[in-house]
């Protein structure tokens, strides 16, 4: 940069000298003022282009860094969300939390603790067998079983809503043991504070 500036000044001085010489001697070989001006402009343009390129490089670097950070954040949020939304399943005509469901709830508990602004709606569902009305009540009991478990570990009841859909919203529309086992479940929906989540287990 400095060199270019020096070069430009030297050229300018030379041009000035030759003009004076010309006026004095009137020799035809020296650059015309137009040429000098054009050269100056070219130099200026090159300088600006270089500056732009540099700024762009820096911006790209910054954006890349930001992207990486956002991606990590998204990944963390997604992981946390996945943990929160993971379904838990129940035995037939039962609302007791099974042992593997307890592991799932334990992970949810950690996420809920790390994200105190998160609120959940827990939906109880049943399989198609039995009376439709009884299943509505059973779904409610399943939803509240999860609420009670989480409350037992200090999660405020204000953060947890419940609703039962009974047998109305099956995950799998089929009438066999596998389908029934899939349909006896709690769904967990994040209803607030879910835009950015910390995942204490990840990173």
């Amino acid at each position: 940069m400095m060199q270019r500036l020096t070069l430009a000044v030297a050229i300018a001085a030379l041009a000035l000298g030759s003009t004076a010489g010309c006026s004095r001697s009137g020799g035809p070989e020296g650059p015309t003022p137009e040429q000098i001006e054009a050269e100056r402009l070219a130099a200026e343009e090159a300088r600006l282009a270089a500056e732009r390129a540099e700024a762009e490089r820096l911006a790209a670097e910054r954006a890349a860094a930001e992207r990486r950070a956002a991606e990590a954040e998204r990944a963390e949020t997604a992981a946390a969300r996945e943990i929160l939304e993971e379904r838990i399943h129940f035995d037939y005509d039962r609302s007791e939390i099974r042992s593997e469901a307890e592991q799932q709830l334990m992970r949810k508990l950690a996420v809920l603790r790390a994200n105190p602004e998160v609120r959940l709606r827990i939906e109880g569902h049943c399989d198609e067998r039995g009376s439709i009305e009884y299943n509505l009540a059973l779904g409610q009991r399943r939803a509240e079983a999860a609420v009670n478990w989480l409350r037992g570990y200090g999660i405020s009841a204000d953060r947890l809503e419940t609703v039962s859909w009974g047998e109305d919203r099956p995950l799998v529309r089929a009438s066999n043991e596998d389908a029934w086992a899939m349909n006896r479940r709690n769904e967990f929906r994040i209803i607030a504070g879910g835009d950015r989540l910390r995942n204490p287990a990840g990173s």
Binding site: D93, R121, R129, G130, S131, I132, E133, Y134, L136, A137, L138, Q140, R141, E144, N148, E161, V163, S164, W165, G166, D168, R169
Partner: protein
């Protein structure tokens, strides 16, 4: 023969018959013995007839007398069942042979007598013998020496006997000309319907169509009452004109219905007559006023007239003039609240919602209570006025409310309400429009209440023993009594109870021995007594009683799909009501129109 006794016998016709009438086959020997008596009486009343009947009744003589039904003096109604095939039907504790039973194999209980042998009581009692030893009765009077000695007469109360009934095509009578007396049967006249023939030329085709439609409705209503052995194929020569009771009698017909329709005051006059073919006389006759055929009330009015016919014949009105409320889940998962007439006609939508459960009729038949998905899907109980369309929410606190049931006086609405982590039975005071009061306690899920007809008790389901079971308790709250068989760790699972409107029976659905849900019936006054399973095919759920306490509507899955079905608990006969959709949770209305509503101003 002793005239007093004969009189007694004649009067008892509808109640008593000779021999053991309930057999294994349609039109079995029991019918024959009854009919032979009829024939004898129509042909030659008096001693000869009785003597012949006695002969038919002689054990073995009829070719099918029940060997186990020995005559015994002094046995009154309820004294015990004979070992006829009907008894097996009565004791269908484990599986129902009734469902496969051919129609009409064992008839309806006859209700002409003072005693009421309705519904499952009849089932439980089976073929109750009013078995009268001839000498015991005769001994009280002057002995009739013309009686052959050694022959015994057995009179059997036929709890499941269904008299044969025919409905002659109705005549269309031109207005004005035949008004009044021209409509057919005059009291005492046997020429019912004959008058219509003379004026046939002046009858408009429209009127004839109306007469045909009315005939179709009446005939089907009588069939669906399950109290008659219907004769659908009427010989050509008997399709018009009457007068020859002998010909009807030869067909085994006990009751003949004739009718005529004429234009009257913008609508129609329907004249119906019930002929007692056995006596050879008109038992009842009356004119009913019907609205125009385009009127929404037309079919219901015809149903009410048909119900009156049933009352004439049996002493108790039919249930045709009723509707069933139901819920249907559509393919997109949402629900419709629907109404359908008792004969499966006139299916129509009242309301749609994300979810609509368990509609219940108010005792006046004007309102429906049901639960629907309210805010964020939570069920709440609402009451809808079917006339004005007005809706009010009646579960104003708590979290989740469902399974409403009206008290018989219509002042209270019981329901299952989720409060504090449990569902308990609560009563809402409709009269004061307030005050949900908890009446059950200490359970996890108590729901599905249904009041006894006197309003003093409730049947409901509770899972306080682990699985859902059926309990009864005082309506205001109190000790609950377990009704369904309980086995620790057993597969017992009984839900959706409904208390019979005229007795102590309770119906519900439960897991059968095959693990499939079927309709069951228990006696509310005999906790622990065997529960009767009354369906056996496919899957059957959500039972609700008809106002006669004899029919039950339920939702079922059968080979031909899903729908609502009606079972007659006496004969075991089942008919589809609406099929081809996820029709669920039916409730049967009270009688919505009575014969007295069809007053004729003359």
């Amino acid at each position: 023969m002793n005239p007093y006794l004969r009189e007694q016998l004649m009067q008892s016709y509808t109640r008593l018959s000779i021999g053991t009438p309930c057999r294994r086959e349609v039109g079995g020997p029991g019918r024959r013995s009854y009919r032979s008596l009829s024939t004898a009486n129509v042909g030659a009343r008096g001693q000869g007839a009785v003597a012949r009947a006695e002969f038919e009744a002689e054990p073995g003589a009829g070719g099918g007398a029940e060997p186990g039904a020995e005559p015994g003096p002094g046995l009154g109604p309820g004294a015990g069942a004979t070992n006829s095939s009907c008894e097996q039907m009565a004791g269908l504790a484990t599986n129902s042979s009734c469902e496969q039973r051919p129609t009409g194999s064992c008839g309806a209980p006859h209700r002409a007598g003072g005693g009421r042998f309705g519904g499952l009581l009849a089932l439980a009692t089976g073929l109750v013998g009013l078995v009268v030893g001839w000498p015991a009765v005769a001994g009280a009077q002057v002995p009739d020496t013309t009686m052959p000695r050694g022959i015994q007469l057995r009179l059997v109360y036929e709890t499941q006997f269904r008299p044969r009934l025919a409905v002659q095509p109705f005549t269309a009578v031109p207005g004005g000309v035949g008004a009044g007396a021209g409509a057919g049967v005059g009291a005492g006249s046997e020429a019912a319907g004959a008058a219509g023939v003379a004026g046939a030329a002046a009858v408009s085709p429209g009127l004839r169509l109306v007469a045909e439609e009315v005939h179709r409705i009446v005939q089907r209503d009588l069939d669906y009452s399950n109290r008659f052995d219907m004769l659908f194929e009427i010989p050509e020569r008997l399709r018009t004109g009457v007068g020859e009771y002998g010909a009807w009698n030869a067909l085994g017909v006990v009751y003949l219905v004739t009718g005529s329709v004429q234009e009257m005051g913008g609508g129609y006059g329907l004249r119906l007559a019930l002929h007692d073919v056995v006596y050879g006389s008109v038992k009842e006759i009356r004119q009913f006023s019907l609205p125009p055929a385009s009127d929404a009330d037309f079919r219901m009015s015809v149903h009410a007239a048909a119900d009156e016919l049933v009352r004439w014949a049996t002493g108790e009105p039919g249930i045709a003039a009723t509707r069933i409320a139901l819920s249907r889940q559509r393919s997109d998962g949402t629900y419709e609240l629907l109404l359908v007439d008792s004969d499966g006609e006139n299916l129509r939508r009242v309301h749609t919602n994300e979810a609509i459960y368990s509609p219940a009729w108010s005792p006046d038949g004007r309102r429906l209570a049901y639960s629907e998905a309210g805010e964020e899907g939570r069920h709440r109980v609402v009451e809808r006025d079917l006339v004005t369309g007005e809706v009010r929410v009646v579960s104003d606190r708590g979290f989740l409310a469902q399974t409403p049931a009206y008290s018989p006086d219509g002042r209270k609405l019981a329901m299952g309400l989720w409060v504090g982590g449990r569902m308990e039975i609560h009563e809402y005071d409709l009269a004061r429009d307030c005050c949900l009061t908890r009446i059950s306690q200490r359970s996890r899920i108590d729901m599905g209440p249904s009041y006894s007809p006197d309003g003093r008790r409730l049947v409901f389901q509770s899972d306080r023993l682990g699985n859902p079971h059926i309990f009864t308790m005082p309506a205001g709250g109190g000790d609950a009594v377990l009704l369904t068989p309980f086995e620790t760790g057993g597969p017992g699972y009984f839900t959706s109870p409904s208390w019979s409107p005229n007795g102590s029976q309770v119906t519900f659905h439960g897991r059968s021995s095959g693990g499939i849900f079927q309709i069951m019936v228990a006696d509310a006054n005999r906790p622990g007594a065997p529960v009767q399973q009354i369906t056996s095919r496919g899957r059957s759920e959500d039972p609700a009683w008809a106002p006669d306490g004899r029919h039950i509507v339920f939702s079922g899955v059968r080979d031909d799909g899903m729908g609502l079905y009606v079972i007659d608990t006496v004969t075991g006969r089942i008919r589809p009501l609406v099929t081809g959709g996820r029709f669920r949770m039916p409730d049967w209305s009270p009688r919505l129109k009575r014969a007295s509503d069809l007053a004729v101003s003359r």
